[in-house]
């Protein structure tokens, strides 16, 4: 465990040196802040716009950080050959992978924390009521980030950074449209429906983590539903990490 922790802290330190991270963070905060301005130009429910824009920013920038920092995590270690010194130490390969994953999760947690703080400040300034469902929504956004990070990590164990980025973004988009995939399949013949259904179950159903509608319409969500969604996210993440570990265990570092 100390080994995994050392590697994740080292990864966290590494990501803090990433300039991209700060640019994204500043941009996200600007976007959250801009909702103050935009709400003045809006007719109707200004609160709704602030909440919607704020949550969407946190989600979007979180995903971008997860993907663009995540894809480099392992492939950079292989390219720069730093992995040689780790694997030759008594560190099982899966521990290395897990350490890298946790390191990025810490980075995401810190970043998300800063963005959430920004959002809360805006909500406070604009006198928008802050409800419990907002925090539930934020928790699920973070759960989604954990899944996306695992996707990026999985790809980065066997392809280049560029391909990993493309694949991870594709999975993110498909993951949010997977319900459509099922609806689409129902209109097709048996074989195509089978394929569409298989894809539906194989791809992460990322819409499940989206509670923006609930927040805006002030609808609470039950604890059982929350627990189920979180279990789904954790199970999916575990599966991704397991696959990544199996691939990583077998590969040669040339």
């Amino acid at each position: 465990m100390t080994r995994i922790l050392s590697i994740s802290l080292n990864t966290f330190r590494e990501t803090l040196r990433e300039k991209l991270l700060y640019n994204l963070l500043i941009f996200a905060l600007l976007m959250i802040g801009s909702s103050i301005l935009l709400s003045r130009l809006t007719l109707g429910d200004a609160n709704r716009l602030i909440l919607d824009l704020g949550l969407a920013s946190i989600n979007l920038f979180g995903v971008i950080i997860a993907i663009f920092v995540g894809i480099g995590l392992v492939s950079k270690e292989i390219d720069k050959k730093t992995i040689y010194t780790i694997v030759s130490k008594p560190v099982p390969r899966y521990e290395f992978l897990l350490g890298k994953y946790l390191g990025l999760c810490i980075t995401l947690l810190v970043n998300a924390g800063i963005m959430v703080a920004g959002l809360l400040v805006v909500l406070h300034v604009m006198d928008v009521p802050i409800e419990l469902v907002l925090f539930k929504s934020l928790l699920l956004i973070f759960m989604e980030l954990l899944v996306i990070t695992a996707v990026a990590l999985l790809f980065s164990t066997f392809t280049s950074s560029t391909l990993s980025a493309i694949f991870s973004l594709a999975i993110y988009v498909i993951g949010h449209l997977s319900a459509d995939l099922k609806t689409f399949g129902e209109k097709l013949d048996a074989i195509s429906r089978g394929i569409a259904n298989a894809l539906y179950y194989l791809m992460p159903n990322l819409e499940r983590f989206n509670l923006k509608g609930h927040v805006i319409h002030r609808l609470d969500i039950g604890m059982t539903d929350m627990a189920l969604i979180i279990c789904y996210g954790l199970a999916y993440t575990t599966l991704l990490l397991l696959t990544a570990a199996i691939i990583f265990q077998r590969r040669d570092f040339q």
Binding site: T82, P90, F253
Partner: protein
């Protein structure tokens, strides 16, 4: 793991085939390689670039998997996590986490071995002193020179006080002073009873350091043994004699006894095939009452053997 084992490394018929390019063309990097490194010896793994040295070391370190064959480190199969506690490894032209400072860097690797607290701090102090870098404790690795990186790399390989130290090209890219320092360090480790297995293409260093060497060409071992034996086998040593003011008559006397004669500015150089003719040549020189400038026995070096083996292999594969 048997720490009393006489064999630090034992490689048996190791073979590695890489698939390269789109069509997966097969390239054999290491071919039927067997060797044994005994405990406490300095073993040089020599060969030209691309001979398969790094591939072999990477297999030993569990970075790549062999296509066939096996290897043991201290009687444990490679890849065994326990055996890695006893190994220190310096990769070729190492790249490190350049955002870490010298101390953070060593601390990180120490933690991977489960070291912590005062014991780790003391070990870091000792190693920074050992590799001559006590002043870089708070300097980021990105500001290190190549020689300094190589030395901190050796320090990270020693963080766990290993029994076996594996160094991939430890002298490459270093200036003469740096190479001397690395050589001294290796000798010091040998004095501490460690086994050192290092690859190199700098033969002079190997000649000075190694108890035994093996020469690898195109993935195959072409020569193995102690430097003395190998060089002795390679060719008999020749002797060079230089004299001043020897007349044509004297030269004519000596001619049948030597291999080659070169005259320049009143001095004449004779190259003798071996020690045997030396007395005869000196008799002629004494009789002619000329000045003897020098007598130099010319030892054939590891380099001569290396060039010969590489050349022969090249010719064999072309024919």
């Amino acid at each position: 793991m048997d720490l009393r084992s006489e064999q630090a490394v034992h490689i048996d018929r190791l073979r590695k085939v890489f698939r390269v390019g789109f069509w997966g063309r097969r390239v054999t990097a290491v071919d039927d390689l067997s060797l044994t490194v005994h405990r406490g010896e300095v073993f040089g793994f020599l060969g030209p670039n691309g001979a398969g040295k790094t591939t072999t070391l990477k297999i030993l370190m569990g970075l790549i998997y062999p296509s066939s064959g096996t290897a043991w480190i201290m009687d444990r199969p490679i890849g065994d996590i326990h055996v890695k506690h006893q190994i220190g490894f310096l990769p070729e032209s190492p790249y490190f986490y350049d955002y870490l400072t010298g101390e953070e860097f060593l601390r990180f690797y120490g933690q991977l071995f489960g070291l912590h607290g005062a014991a780790l701090a003391a070990r870091i102090d000792y190693l920074l002193q050992l590799v001559g870098l006590p002043h870089v404790r708070t300097l980021q690795l990105r500001k290190f020179s190549k020689g300094m990186l190589q030395r901190i790399g050796i320090a990270q390989a020693l963080i766990n006080d290993p029994h076996l130290v594996v160094l991939d090209e430890p002298m490459s890219g270093l200036d003469p002073v740096g190479r001397k320092e690395v050589r001294d360090l290796i000798l010091r480790l040998k004095e501490e009873g460690k086994t050192i297995f290092f690859s190199s293409h700098i033969l002079h260093d190997a000649e000075l350091l190694c108890d035994r060497v093996s020469i690898l060409v195109k993935g195959r071992i072409v020569a193995m043994g102690s430097v003395k034996d190998l060089v002795g086998h390679a060719s008999a040593s020749s002797v060079e004699v230089v004299v001043e003011g020897l007349g044509e008559e004297g030269v004519a006397h000596i001619q049948p006894m030597v291999e080659r004669i070169t005259a320049q500015g009143g001095r004449t150089l004779f190259v003798l095939k071996g020690q045997g003719q030396l007395n005869g040549v000196l008799d002629v020189i004494r009789a002619a009452k000329t000045t003897l400038i020098s007598v130099t026995p010319h030892q054939s070096s590891l380099e001569d053997l290396f060039m010969k083996e590489v050349h022969e292999q090249g010719a064999r594969s072309e024919s």
